[in-house]
């Protein structure tokens, strides 16, 4: 699949020259930001469950840890993409990078305190750097703890230092993914438009697909005879998470849409004009269908949440649905016209292959069970 991705990238490089180069970069931006954020959701999963003193996830904690090991590599790819967009002299994606254009445009010159090259660069570098730092820190601490003795004092120490690092990460994560990062990377495509819901909406998208990604790897490992402590009880809880956050995504989707629909201000409706009434109308409603209606009705029953095949099916649907969501966030503002996304799908497959490679590699590096974690027993006897 990595081969497919590389091949598509090369084809894209030759196919989209000149005027069409926008599509080449838009595809890269969409895919790199989507896949970076869904792998980062694994770090968020570890941090949030650690801070909440959750015990049930310890039996498969090494799986999100391994997924988060893809973050550094994907970060490098994303940084290459966004910095070549900002400094590459092209303004078809981020039209605020053109200083000449900004001087003529009143709205953009008002926003230039935030939307300028140096702020973009510094903010992106700091946030991505901190994400990578905390991800590696959590992973390294977890592996280091495998070598310790099993004593009550050790258990306390494990809990304490994990909680501190997880708390630090969550502050950074909320300030970046919950606020500035999606504004800079994705919302600034439509630089005239703004929505304060946008970051949370992006976060909800990436978090629910990140959970689906964790579920996919857990089921795969379980079916191949690893993760003996993981039962359908753990799967049930992951299913509940996927169900709940699909609804959470819809909540944010609707909150953003309804306020703009109600106020009906031209500068705000400009974002929804091509999506709801333009060429993107089918994608807009397909997005709602597969990200809300399908998970809602499918995951509502207890039996589907406890069924390995059903979880795999719905996890793939959710990941594809949110990939589509990112597609319709990036494309109407850049490529404008609805086209069959063969190039974008190819790149997506490439990223999926890369993630599978990196995660499998990371899974082989450490034991699949953190044997000294004080909550391990709680996870083994976990019962919903």
């Amino acid at each position: 699949m990595m081969g497919v991705g590389l091949l598509t990238l090369l084809i894209g490089l030759f196919a989209f020259q000149g005027e069409n180069a926008t599509r080449f970069w838009a595809g890269l931006l969409q895919n790199s930001s989507f896949f970076l954020l869904i792998t980062l959701a694994s770090t968020f999963f570890i941090a949030a469950t650690t801070l909440a003193h959750g015990g049930w996830q310890i039996a498969f904690r090494r799986v999100p840890e391994a997924i988060s090991m893809a973050v550094p590599v994907l970060s490098v790819i994303l940084l290459l993409v966004v910095f070549s967009l900002v400094f590459g002299g092209k303004d078809t994606i981020y039209h605020w990078v053109n200083t000449h254009h900004v001087h003529e445009d009143k709205v953009l010159s008002w926003k230039s305190a935030f939307l300028n090259k140096s702020f973009f660069t510094i903010a992106t570098l700091i946030t991505v750097g901190l994400w990578v730092f905390f991800t590696l820190k959590l992973r390294n601490m977890s592996i280091e703890e495998d070598g310790w003795d099993l004593k009550p004092a050790t258990g306390k120490k494990i809990l304490w230092r994990n909680t501190v690092v997880a708390g630090g990460f969550l502050v950074i994560y909320t300030l970046s993914v919950g606020s500035t990062t999606p504004w800079l990377w994705l919302m600034s495509i439509d630089a005239h438009w703004f929505s304060t819901m946008y970051s949370w909406y992006t976060f909800a998208s990436s978090w629910v697909s990140g959970l689906s990604l964790i579920a996919l790897f857990v089921v795969y490992l379980k079916k191949h005879g690893y993760l003996t402590y993981v039962t359908e009880e753990h799967l049930h809880d992951l299913g509940k998470f996927m169900f709940a956050f699909s609804i959470f995504w819809t909540y944010l989707w609707f909150s953003q849409y309804m306020l703009i629909w109600y106020a009906n201000l031209p500068e705000e409706t400009a974002y929804f004009q091509p999506r709801v009434w333009g060429e993107w109308r089918p994608i807009f409603f397909l997005n709602l269908l597969i990200n809300f209606i399908v998970p809602l009705l499918f995951l509502m029953k207890r039996d589907t949440k406890r069924n390995y095949t059903a979880i795999v099916f719905i996890a793939i649907v959710i990941i594809f649905g949110h990939w589509l969501d990112f597609w319709q966030m990036v494309y109407p503002g850049t490529v404008k016209h609805l086209i069959f996304p063969w190039y974008e799908l190819g790149l997506g497959l490439g990223f999926v292959g890369l993630i599978i490679f990196l995660v499998s590699n990371a899974l082989t590096k450490a034991a699949l069970v953190p044997k000294n974690h004080p909550y391990l027993k709680e996870s083994i006897i976990h019962h919903t």
Partner: protein, 197 residues
């Protein structure tokens, strides 16, 4: 409701209770109920209780709420009293969604609480027999119903072996009645023969 004979046994620990429940079921005695001071995960499985249908009921209540909200609002704004509000259409779906959502939640929540009370037979004024005063305090109380086929002495020694203490026989009302514990006697007591100590 019927007055029945029961054998009551007390347990101190859920770790002893679980194997005991399993043994009772394999031995084929009729388990009336197990009273615990806190919710014990997995005890419903061990007791062989069927999956609750409360979810299905909740889904139906929710759907009812959705339909009620949507149909009422569209009737008001299209048929009964059409108003032009800010040039919006007469069927403005986005504006209806919050109310539809609220009514769905309200119907589902209230309906499920009431169904839950119905299924568990709890209501102000509805009383049930208390087998042991400490059954919701700090003891696990297992109650086995005696049928014509079961021998009371055999059940007692069986419970003894399973780790129970304070084992005794009771004759009590199996269902519920209306009344107050502080004022009224348990009405079935009139029908009960004195238990041989």
């Amino acid at each position: 409701m019927a007055v029945k004979n029961f054998v009551v046994g007390l347990f101190d620990d859920e770790a002893v209770l679980f194997p005991a429940v399993k043994k009772v079921r394999t031995a084929g005695y009729k388990l009336h109920d197990v009273y615990t001071p806190f919710p014990v995960h997995g005890l419903d499985h061990a007791m062989g209780l069927r999956e609750t249908s409360l979810h299905t009921a909740g889904f139906i209540y929710g759907i009812t709420g959705t339909t009620t909200a949507l149909s009422f609002m569209s009737w008001v704004f299209n048929v009964d009293w059409p108003l032009n509000i800010g040039g919006k259409p007469h069927f403005p779906l986005p504006a209806f969604i919050p109310i539809t959502f609220e009514l769905t939640v309200l119907f589902a929540a209230v309906g499920m609480v009431m169904t839950f009370c119905w299924l568990c037979q709890i209501m102000p004024g509805v009383k049930k027999h208390i087998f042991h005063p400490r059954q919701t305090d700090d003891k696990f109380v297992m109650v086995i119903e005696l049928t014509e086929k079961t021998n009371a002495e055999e059940v007692k020694s069986f419970l003894q072996a399973a780790g129970a203490h304070d084992i005794h026989e009771q004759q009590a009302e199996a269902g519920w009645w209306f009344g107050r514990f502080d004022k009224d006697d348990e009405p079935y007591l009139r029908k009960v023969k004195p238990v041989n100590a």
